[in-house]
C-alpha cells in the first residue's frame, strides 16, 4: 500500500500539468463569459465590466490561476455559471450515471472482445478468425457516435425493440430513492427488480456504442497475444509433458496472454472516457460528459476545468489499478519501477 501512495504522489506533477494546460486552453477559447452571462444581450459595457469583475476575470491570468489553485487545494472546483451550483455538487449528482454507463460499456467490450480473440487464436485462419478480422476492422473504422446512431435507427426506429434513447429511465417511471446514484443498484435496493431491468435496458444502446471503442483494439491484442502464447516454448513443453488442454489454457496460455491485453485495456479505457462525451450527448444521458459539453458551449470555465481534471484523476487511478493487476500476474514486473 506504500506503493499505491507513492504512485499517486508521483502522478501529482502530471495532474498539475493537466490543470495548467486546461486552464490556459479554456481561456484561449472564443467567447467571453462576462458577455455571455450578462443579464441581457443588450447589456451595456458598464454591466459587462461589473460581471467580469464579479467573476474575477478582470484580474491577471497568473492571479486567476493562483486563486484557482488555492481553491483546488481546498477541494473546491468552483461554481458553475450554467447550473448555478458548485461544480462539486453537480459532479456528485452526475458522476454515478457516467460511471454506471462506462462500466457497462467496458464490460460489454471486454466480454465480447476477449472470448472472440481467444477463439480466433485457436482457429487461426479459420472462418471465425476471418469474421473477427472483419468485425475489428469495421468497428475500428466506425466512430462510436455513428454506431450509436445506427443502433438507434435500427433497433429503436425500425425494429422498435429498444427503449427510447433518451435518459436513464422510461418517462413513465419514477426514479428510485438515491443511495449510490447507480440507477440499477438503487432500484434493486428499493426492491424493484423490474425498474432495475428497465434502467439496465436503457443503458444497453449507449453502452454498446461505447463498447465499440473497446472491441477492435482488445480483440486484436487478445488474438495476437494468445497466438504468441500458444506458439511459445512453455506451451510446447507443457504439451510435451502431457498436461491437459484445460490446464494449459488456464494456467499457461491465458495468464501470459492477458499481460499485453491488460496494458491495452488502459489505453482503451482512456479513449472510452473521451468518447463518453459524444455518447452521453447523443443519448441525452445525464452524466458528466454531457455536462462538460454543455459547459464548454456555454463558456462556463469551472466545470470544463473540473471535468478534465476528473478524467485525468480517473485515468491515473485506472492506470495504477492495471499496473497492480499486471504485477499480481507477472512476477517479473516491479510495481515500484
Amino acid at each position: 500500500m506504500k506503493v499505491v501512495a507513492f504512485r499517486l504522489l508521483g502522478a501529482l506533477p502530471i495532474l498539475l500539468g493537466v490543470v495548467v494546460v486546461t486552464f490556459a486552453l479554456v481561456r484561449a477559447l472564443p467567447g467571453d463569459p462576462a458577455i455571455y452571462y450578462a443579464s441581457s444581450p443588450s447589456a451595456g459595457p458598464d454591466e459587462i465590466r461589473a460581471v467580469r469583475q464579479q467573476l474575477g476575470l478582470d484580474r491577471g491570468w497568473l492571479e486567476q490561476f493562483l486563486i484557482y489553485l488555492h481553491a483546488l487545494a481546498h477541494g473546491q472546483l468552483g461554481q458553475s455559471l450554467l447550473t448555478g451550483q458548485p461544480v462539486l455538487e453537480d459532479f456528485r449528482r452526475l458522476l454515478p450515471a457516467t460511471i454506471e454507463l462506462a462500466a457497462l460499456g467496458f464490460a460489454m467490450g471486454v466480454g465480447v472482445a476477449l472470448p472472440l480473440g481467444v477463439l480466433a487464436a485457436f482457429h487461426r485462419g479459420g472462418a471465425l478468425d476471418q469474421a473477427c478480422r472483419a468485425v475489428s476492422s469495421t468497428t475500428a473504422a466506425m466512430p462510436g457516435f455513428f454506431f450509436g446512431l445506427l443502433l438507434i435507427y435500427l433497433l429503436y426506429y425500425l425494429a422498435g425493440i429498444a427503449p427510447e434513447p433518451i435518459g436513464r429511465l422510461p418517462g413513465s417511471d419514477i426514479p428510485p430513492t438515491r443511495v449510490t446514484g447507480l440507477m440499477t443498484v438503487d432500484a434493486l435496493i428499493e426492491g424493484d427488480p423490474g425498474l432495475a431491468w428497465r434502467a439496465f435496458c436503457k443503458m444497453l444502446l449507449p453502452a454498446a456504442s461505447m463498447a465499440i471503442f473497446a472491441v477492435a483494439p482488445l480483440l486484436r491484442m487478445m488474438r495476437g497475444a494468445m497466438i504468441d502464447a500458444l506458439d511459445s516454448d512453455y506451451v510446447m513443453t507443457a504439451r510435451a509433458f502431457g498436461l491437459t488442454r484445460a490446464r494449459i489454457l488456464i494456467s499457461y496460455a491465458l495468464p501470459n496472454a492477458m499481460l499485453p491485453v491488460l496494458a491495452t485495456m488502459g489505453m482503451v479505457l482512456s479513449t472510452m472516457l473521451g468518447a463518453n462525451v459524444m455518447i452521453e450527448k447523443l443519448f441525452a444521458w445525464p452524466g458528466i460528459g454531457a455536462y462538460a459539453i454543455n459547459a464548454l458551449l456555454g463558456v462556463d470555465y469551472a466545470p470544463v476545468q473540473a471535468f478534465v481534471l476528473i478524467v485525468a484523476v480517473m485515468f491515473v487511478i485506472l492506470t495504477l489499478v492495471i499496473d497492480l493487476l499486471t504485477a499480481a500476474i507477472d512476477p517479473r514486473v516491479d510495481v515500484n519501477g
Binding site: S232, D233, Y234, M236, T237, A238, R239, A240, F241, G242, L243, T244, R247, S251, Y252, P255, N256, L259, I329, D330, P331, R332
Partner: protein, 282 residues
C-alpha cells in the same frame, strides 16, 4: 521381444506454397530398453522433427505421410489424442534446447513441476503431496536447496539450473524413454558437461532409454552407446560410437568428423581425443 522404440520408414512432409517439402524421408531407427542412442546430423537434417514425430507434436503444417512409430509394439501414429496425452511425460518425456523459455515465466517452478505429476495421476494426488515428491526428486537429481528453487520463477534461475529442473521434470513420472533435443546447446561448456553428466547418469541409474539429439558428434560419442547419423531426413549410418569414429562407413560421417571444431587444437588432436574417449566408454 520388441525394441522399446521402433521407427520404420517414417515420412513427414510440410505442405508449403510451392509443393510439399520432405522433412523426413524413409527414416528408420530402433532403440532398446535402457539404451542411449544419439541422433546426429547437420542443422535441418530432421533431428527435431524425428523427436516431435514420436511425441506427435509436429507443427500443424506437417503431415505424416507414411511409416510407423512403435512404442513397445504399439503404433503411436494410430493413437488418439487422449492416449497420446497420457503417454507424453509419463512414458516418453521430451526436453528441449531452451529450458528457460520452456518454463512458464509467470508460474513458480514448483507449480509447473507439480502440474506434470498431477496431469498423470488421475486426480488422486494433492498439490501438497506432489510438492513433496517434487522436492525429493530435485534433491535426488543433485539440485541444492530444492525448497527454495521450487519457490522461484524461471527468470530468477540460470539457464543451466532451468535445464536441470527440466531434467527432473522429465524423470518425474518415471518414463521409459527420454528424448533430449539439444539439451545443452544453449549452455556454456562447463555447464554443458554438468548437465549432460547429470542427464546420462540419471538415465543409466534408472534404466531409462535416451534419444539424445545433437549436432555435436563428439558429445554424442562421449555419452551414448550408439549413434545414428542423419542427413536429409534419413539415417545414413548407424553403429557403436567408437566404430563410427575409427572407421566411418559413410562419406557424410567422415565429413562430420572432419568438421569437428579445430579451435581448441588441431583436428588431429581432437580426433585422437575422441577416439580414446570413445574407446574407453565402449
Amino acid at each position: 521381444m520388441d525394441p522399446l522404440l521402433q521407427i520404420e520408414d517414417l515420412a513427414v512432409r510440410f505442405d508449403a506454397e510451392d509443393g510439399p517439402v520432405r522433412v523426413l524421408d524413409g527414416l528408420s531407427l530402433s532403440l532398446g530398453r535402457g539404451e542411449c542412442l544419439a541422433l546426429v546430423g547437420e542443422s535441418g537434417s530432421g533431428k527435431s522433427m524425428t523427436g516431435l514425430s514420436v511425441m506427435r507434436l509436429l507443427p500443424p503444417q506437417a503431415r505424416i505421410a507414411a511409416g510407423s512409430v512403435r512404442l513397445d509394439g504399439s503404433d503411436l501414429l494410430r493413437a488418439d489424442e487422449r492416449a497420446m496425452r497420457r503417454i507424453r511425460g509419463r512414458r516418453v518425456a521430451m526436453i528441449f534446447q531452451n529450458a528457460k523459455a520452456g518454463l512458464n515465466p509467470i508460474r513458480r517452478v514448483g507449480d509447473t513441476l507439480c502440474d506434470i505429476l498431477i496431469a498423470h495421476d488421475g486426480g488422486r494426488l494433492t498439490r501438497r503431496a506432489a510438492r513433496g515428491r517434487i522436492a525429493a526428486l530435485l534433491g535426488q537429481i543433485g539440485i541444492t536447496d530444492p525448497e527454495r528453487r521450487l519457490e522461484a520463477y524461471p527468470s530468477q534461475l540460470s539457464g543451466g539450473l532451468c535445464q536441470r529442473i527440466m531434467i527432473a521434470a522429465a524423470f518425474a513420472c518415471s518414463p521409459e524413454l527420454i528424448i533430449a533435443d539439444e539439451p545443452t546447446s544453449a549452455l556454456d561448456v562447463t555447464t554443458q558437461k554438468l548437465v549432460m553428466d547429470l542427464l546420462m547418469a540419471a538415465c543409466r541409474e534408472r534404466g531409462v532409454a535416451a534419444l539424445f539429439i545433437t549436432h555435436d558428434l563428439a558429445l554424442a560419442s562421449q555419452y551414448c552407446d550408439r549413434v545414428c547419423v542423419m542427413r536429409k531426413g534419413r539415417v545414413v549410418e548407424e553403429g557403436p560410437a567408437g566404430r563410427l569414429f575409427t572407421a566411418p562407413a559413410a562419406a557424410y560421417t567422415r565429413m562430420l568428423i572432419d568438421a569437428l571444431p579445430a579451435g581448441k587444437g588441431t583436428a588431429q588432436e581432437w580426433r585422437a581425443a575422441i577416439r580414446s574417449h570413445a574407446g574407453m566408454s565402449s
